[in-house]
Symmetry: C2
Subunit: 482 residues, 2 copies
């Protein structure tokens, strides 16, 4: 039963397990106490801090353990912003940061701070030049992930760190995804990470604040972890986290394993579009995490796809709206301007069996075909969709066309109340019912349509005219090119 | 090597260890995911929540897991205060709450809120009548621990909960110390606890918010734990915490064990003053935690005492100033008005061997005697101290007496630069050098003197006249009664 969602959480590394068991007996006492059990805990904690700091590339006294990567981000962002309050209150972050950064940014904004998102290109990458242009005298902090958690694209952290140093602005790097594979290069100021991404136990995050970085921890504090992470230390978990990170780094196999997984991912990137019609593989094909690949399948319901893959034994995740509790598609895919429907993220854990990847490539085409068939999309893709278009467009009640909508050659498709991927399927069916130069207007109240209709136009080389508000949802206008 | 500091952290319960091991393999994946590893995690998390809720006495949907008891308190206090902001911004809490409550209160105050401390009597107990009198129309929240972590005294939580309900004010109960022994009675609104106090692993706190209690979580949030505790769930630890709490509660031995430890503590409470001269046993002798007792030894350096007990194999803690990083004595002992010097807290873990308690009672008198001897205090206590008084008082340079100081019969003892317990030792030596009715003025810049000189006067039936500011530190005036 292959688990292909290492980017979400990796199974416990054997070294972590062993270290955890040992330190459950040795490290349960309060390390602030003067008696032997406390001293023993303190020794374990100090050793774990040294090991983790070495792996991060910082000094032990620059690193504290937090209860999660999320809390490391929350504390890091709020502490850095508070310390720079007199300089300015502007926070810059990429549009594709992890939700923990975005949540911290929202709290900053709600408290009167300002923030600006750095756009990404279609691979999900920030341009260092954009950061340079955005840095202003009131910039308090820049947040940039080392590599994206949904599409694997590496960010130009080293270059951005240099720009930030020059401007005297601290850079916080969320290294949750990349730290298992190596230290983050460059002269960053703050760094965060999360142990369960590298096979450490849950319950451990890292926050490094390099010397010389002004930092003012927010919220209630105590004497634990240099006043930067309150609450009783979780020494057994911290020891296990540090031990497994060191094991990954020390082992000569890590570089080999990264290269091996990179080849497996390359194979998925090449084969999936060959095996499955109407697929978009996203993210940078070269400058990326070794183990992660994401693709989106047109005319596919992401939840059904995940369900079928799970039935077939594969555990993957998705940025499709129908797989999230909010019914909005992934903000990462949105910022990249790529398709969100039928989205699949494959992230291979350390030691993934090549045969499992081959089996995934066997199973995927059948699964996609089955889901499409249930949605009334024949297997052969675009041409067949076009051939069935009459039925769908006849259903479109042009009487519900909002005032001032499509021109004389226009056709209106009413997809109100229908969820992703139905609006796009209906658009694909209708487009061949209008002459070249004619328009199809899709009425939709599904949040994913806003993203997926323009993405479909890019994939299909049709012209996306734009979006107008409608009585319910919005009206998306597409002009047929060919 | 007996460990007598269960109130700080208890060793891992065998049931917790077993549950942790099992769920490391079953519960490492993200419980929000749709695939089988995620569903398995979700089932474990739900079952743990049900078990913990049953032990707490609330509904499962009222309880969230946090990374520590401290974070449960921080989140509980800030969320309850924020939700009541329109009603008022006044926070009431006892003077003897855990530091996590005090830190949350400080943050509230720094943000413009107000707070008032409820005084305690000499046993460390809040009077319910005082709470009733303090409740006002602008009271946002009351915080009251179920039992004190340093002296074991139980608070009148049930009575205070009823008063708060009547006034429409939520009550937050920090149940960290008492939850291992039973649910908190009464109609409280919020409750917090910490798993490593009952033999669960570190890394797990509980926050219960009863239905109908307004609550507005503060800080960055995510979709985890009903938006009340951000960051990846630590399912293995949560499962272990719930399993061990259930085991404690379900086992018929818990009530028997509580009674057994209560008898052992009674023996310590009785025997220590018989075996060691000049000792004050503090806290309520009856309405108390079963396993905890605290006493203070006059003329003893707490750090030296802990060190000697550790050498003799006993791990205990202390609220003496010389054992804390801040050099201020325990705020609990201060609020109670009892002696802080030579303070020892003994808290017996589940299953404590009676023979270890007997050995402690054998060792303690020798250890106290040795520490006193090193400080120049002969073993026989008060009379002997008085007999050696001449030497000390002759050292007191009356020329350094501040303006307007002691009267004609007065004697000034210069203890500037000397740490606890030296100022009290010098006072004890000097008091017999003045006639009955005469005064001794102790100059001291040690924070503990402010607490221990009045406490000494109570113990010795001398009159504490008061304190005056001095060029350095303060001048404490004592009048000889007999």
């Amino acid at each position: 039963m292959p688990y292909f969602d290492a980017a979400s959480a990796a199974p416990l590394h054997p070294v972590a397990r062993e270290a955890l068991l040992a330190s459950l007996d040795e490290g349960w006492a309060d390390p602030a106490r003067l008696y032997r059990e406390g001293r023993r805990g303190r020794l374990l904690l100090d050793a774990a801090r040294e090991a983790a700091a070495e792996a991060v590339g910082c000094r032990p006294d620059e690193l504290v353990f937090t209860p999660s990567g999320t809390q490391a981000v929350h504390s890091g962002v709020s502490g850095a912003l508070a310390a720079r309050r007199r300089v300015g209150r502007r926070l810059l972050h990429s549009a594709v940061e992890h939700s923990s950064v975005l949540h911290a940014a929202e709290v900053h904004e709600a408290a009167g701070g300002s923030r600006a998102e750095l756009a990404v290109d279609r691979t999900g990458r920030v341009a260092a030049g954009d950061v340079a242009a955005a840095l202003g005298p009131d910039t308090a902090l820049v947040c940039l992930q080392s590599a994206n958690h949904e599409v694997g694209t590496e960010q130009p952290v080293e270059e951005v760190a240099a720009l930030c140093r020059e401007a005297g602005v601290p850079l916080l790097v969320d290294a949750a995804q990349s730290l298992p594979w190596g230290p983050v290069p460059g002269d960053w100021s703050l760094l965060t990470a999360s142990a369960h991404k590298w096979g450490g136990p849950p319950g451990v995050g890292l926050l490094a604040v390099r010397k010389g970085t002004r930092f003012a921890p927010q919220g209630p504090r105590d004497e634990r972890e240099s006043g930067r992470s309150p609450g009783f230390e979780n020494i057994p978990a911290v020891v296990a986290a540090a031990a497994s990170l060191r094991a990954l780094r020390a082992g000569p196999e890590t570089a080999g394993e990264a290269a091996r997984l990179r080849r497996l991912v390359d194979r998925i990137r090449t084969r999936v579009p060959e095996l499955v019609p109407d697929v978009e593989v996203v993210g940078d094909p070269v400058h990326r995490l070794p183990h992660l690949v994401t693709f989106s399948c047109l005319y596919v319901d992401g939840e059904a796809l995940l369900h079928e893959l799970d039935r077939a034994g594969f555990s993957v995740s998705s940025g499709s709206s129908c797989t999230s509790s909010t019914l909005t598609p992934s903000h990462v895919l949105r910022a990249m301007g790529v398709l969100s429907e039928g989205n699949v993220r494959v992230s291979l854990p350390y030691g993934t069996d090549e045969a499992d990847v081959e089996r995934f490539l066997e199973v995927l085409p059948q699964v996609v075909r089955a889901v499409r068939e249930r949605l009334g999309v024949p297997a052969a893709g675009r041409e067949t969709v076009a051939a069935t278009a009459g039925g769908a467009s006849e259903e479109a009640p042009s009487g519900e066309e909002p005032a001032g909508s499509a021109g004389p050659a226009g056709l209106v498709v009413d997809s109100l109340g229908k969820r992703c991927p139905l609006p796009v399927i209906e658009l694909a069916k209708a487009i061949h019912d209008v002459p070249v130069g004619g328009t199809v207007t899709v009425l939709s109240d599904d949040e994913a349509a806003r993203q997926d209709i323009p993405a479909w136009c890019t994939m299909r080389d049709q012209e996306y005219v734009g979006e107008r508000p409608a009585e319910r949802g919005a009206a998306y206008v597409v002009r047929r090119r060919a």
